[in-house]
């Protein structure tokens, strides 16, 4: 790569709510610096001026839910030197992966007046199920500070300082008293760090927005939730949210039948 040329950034959207790419626009204090450090070549949410590829860094938001998108992601990969997925949809299939647990035609029939207009796949799958992904940034939504860290690391050619351990370690870093030991079911011990342990700081159990941590012991957590009084339905519903199709969450949720 020409050392004087700014790396070219592209931001892509698949099945998603746009919240994660909006995190990039939320980086208000850093936006001008970012625009100086990279060439924002393809970011339709920010600018209608779309430049052709190839791109040095592609940020991919959203999951694959249509045959059209399953084709499109291949083309994105072909044009991208580095491909990073951002957010729960892109990394695990997102909330829309609840379809994976039922018949998508039933949902379509229940929601749309003319279901025959809808062309969709039976499942919502993460980008990594379709193409090689160089790095995954977790969260629903992602943490904008981690996004800046990711891009800064990319620009410096270093590894992002982003931990894959439990949320518990973030709770302890900020001095939050453990809500689970005080009797409240919490997904923190099996959930990937990154949010800064927001919910326990407000005396609520973790919702698992960042998906499974590096070595989640789901069965042990499930047993403890039962001990704390959670019903099988409570456990299933807690695990079947934004990261429902992440394999450890999916498997444990299905182990708790009524």
């Amino acid at each position: 790569m020409d050392r004087d040329r700014r790396p070219r950034l592209a931001v892509w959207k698949f099945a998603s709510c746009d919240g994660c790419q909006l995190s990039l626009l939320d980086c208000e204090d850093e936006l001008l610096t970012l625009a100086g450090a990279v060439e924002i070549a393809n970011f339709p949410e920010a600018s209608s001026a779309v430049l052709e590829g190839p791109y040095d860094l592609s940020l991919v938001e959203g999951s694959i839910t249509t045959a059209h998108d399953a084709e499109r992601i291949l083309k994105v990969r072909q044009q991208s030197r580095h491909l990073v997925t951002i957010g729960a949809c892109a990394t695990s299939g997102g909330i829309q992966a609840l379809r994976n647990f039922a018949d998508v035609n039933d949902f379509v029939a229940a929601v749309y007046a003319s279901p025959h207009y809808i062309s969709t796949l039976a499942t919502s799958t993460p980008i990594s199920a379709h193409v090689t992904v160089d790095y995954e940034l977790h969260g629903c939504p992602i943490n904008k500070e981690q996004l800046i860290e990711l891009i800064s690391a990319f620009l410096a050619g270093r590894k992002p300082a982003i931990a894959a351990h439990s949320v518990c370690i973030e709770c302890k870093q900020r001095g939050t008293v453990c809500v689970m030991v005080q009797g409240q079911p919490c997904l923190g011990p099996v959930t990937h760090a990154g949010c800064g342990a927001i919910c326990p700081a407000y005396r609520r159990g973790c919702y698992g927005c960042y998906g499974p941590m590096e070595t989640p012991n789901m069965a042990a957590l499930g047993r403890e939730w039962r001990t704390l009084g959670a019903s099988p339905r409570d456990i299933r519903r807690a695990l079947q949210t934004f990261n429902a199709a992440a394999e450890p969450f999916r498997k444990e949720s299905e182990a708790h039948a009524d």
Partner: protein, 406 residues
């Protein structure tokens, strides 16, 4: 704090913990002890606040935590903690004791060895780059209510951070400047086992002043013992009276009662060899089936000292910084060598933690790494109990096996 006091504090704090009495009873308190009232305790806090950040126990988020205090009313009067494996509940006491609880969720470690610390910042300039030390606001800490186990934990961390050729200057200055007001425990928690570890419940050294709360229907005041010149100097400025035999006996009775109330026991006889020769014990897989590998035990442990270092650079490539954060031997990154983590399984990681804590710590630092505070038991979300795991290994030791799998 004068330079003399600084030197004094250093030599005192780094010294070996005093031995406990061999017959298991509380040692007699020193001569020249004094008695102060609750007003006297407020006067102590006021005097310390003049040039210290005063920290003590207070109720927050359903727990008794260490935080900044200014008034006696912020202490957890009439509260106690009901602790068991994986369980902590704040409960009302029948009286209004100020220190009628065991230990809280986190130790003084978070002040002396903070969870996140910037080590340096680098800025690009015309000549290349320059490195700046972090701007440090030197706040001298005064800790009110330090338990005997916690004093031993500080002495253990002193060996880690201050002994040898590469002392940690930040820790050193915070530690030297800290004024320590110990409190002899009047209540053992359900997960306490300091008696097994020889670290409590009586504070015997390593403090500036030590309090024993004397509280019955007829009185509510504090026996004060002096542990340093600075402590003596401060005590001399407080309203007080000289302790008499009845005060000393009352204090000894408090400590003797706490000693008899330990919620847990740990048999330390030959524990180094026991753990180091049972690396392939089936119990490791048993505990791994329960262990969340979340790292909570290491975070709440007052002696666990491991950190990781993160390097950050900004978008413009103009500044960079190196940040040190608490790490845990339960994360994969902790044992990441070229190609991957060498402790992939929960079995390997739990075994590493307990074997280091109770056995190889002795090889490394000359003492156990455990002070029997019970935090790892209470604050484990699934209630894994270090005393129970050690006992299980002891009950059915396997022969040989110094090297286990990953």
């Amino acid at each position: 704090m004068s330079e003399d006091c600084r030197n004094r504090a250093m030599s005192q704090n780094v010294s070996e913990p005093a031995t406990t009495s061999s017959d298991g009873t509380a040692l007699p308190v020193r001569a020249a002890a004094a008695v102060i009232s609750r007003d006297g305790l407020q006067a102590l806090i006021d005097a310390l606040a003049a040039d210290h950040c005063v920290l003590g126990p207070t109720v927050r988020d359903g727990a008794i935590v260490y935080d900044e205090i200014a008034k006696l009313s912020q202490l957890p009067a009439g509260w106690t903690d009901n602790q068991d494996a994986g369980r902590y509940r704040l409960e009302r006491r029948a009286d209004d004791a100020l220190f009628g609880f065991a230990v809280g969720p986190e130790s003084w470690k978070r002040f002396l060895h903070p969870p996140v610390e910037t080590l340096w910042t680098a800025r690009r300039d015309n000549d290349g780059f320059s490195i700046e030390a972090p701007s440090v606001t030197r706040r001298k800490f005064a800790f009110i209510g330090v338990r005997a186990c916690e004093i031993h934990a500080m002495a253990i961390q002193d060996k880690v951070f201050l002994a040898g050729a590469y002392a940690d200057p930040g820790y050193g200055s915070r530690r030297r400047d800290a004024f320590i007001v110990a409190v002899n425990c009047a209540e053992a928690g359900g997960t306490c086992f300091c008696v097994s570890m020889g670290t409590g419940p009586q504070a015997e050294s390593g403090f500036d002043l030590a309090l024993t709360e004397l509280h019955d229907g007829s009185r509510h005041d504090f026996l004060v013992e002096v542990g340093s010149d600075e402590g003596a100097s401060l005590l001399s400025r407080l309203p007080q009276r000289r302790a008499d035999d009845a005060d000393l006996e009352a204090a000894a009775a408090v400590i003797a009662q706490t000693r008899s109330q330990m919620g847990r026991t740990l048999d330390t006889d030959g524990i180094k060899d026991l753990l180091q020769t049972n690396a392939n014990h089936p119990r490791w897989d048993d505990v791994a089936a329960r262990c969340l590998t979340c790292g909570n035990c290491t975070m709440v442990c007052p002696t666990c000292f491991c950190t990781t270092v993160e390097d950050h650079s900004d978008l413009a490539g103009a500044t960079a910084e190196r940040v040190r954060k608490w790490d845990s031997c339960f994360t994969l990154d902790f044992s990441y060598l070229h190609g991957g983590s060498v402790r992939q399984s929960g079995s390997a990681r739990y075994r590493q933690w307990i074997t280091h804590k109770l056995a190889s710590w002795i090889d490394q630092f000359g003492t156990s790494g455990c002070v029997g505070c019970g935090r790892c038991i209470t604050w484990c979300p699934v209630g894994i109990d270090i005393t129970e795991e050690a006992a299980a290994i002891r009950a059915h030791p396997t022969s040989g096996g110094q090297h286990g799998g990953t």
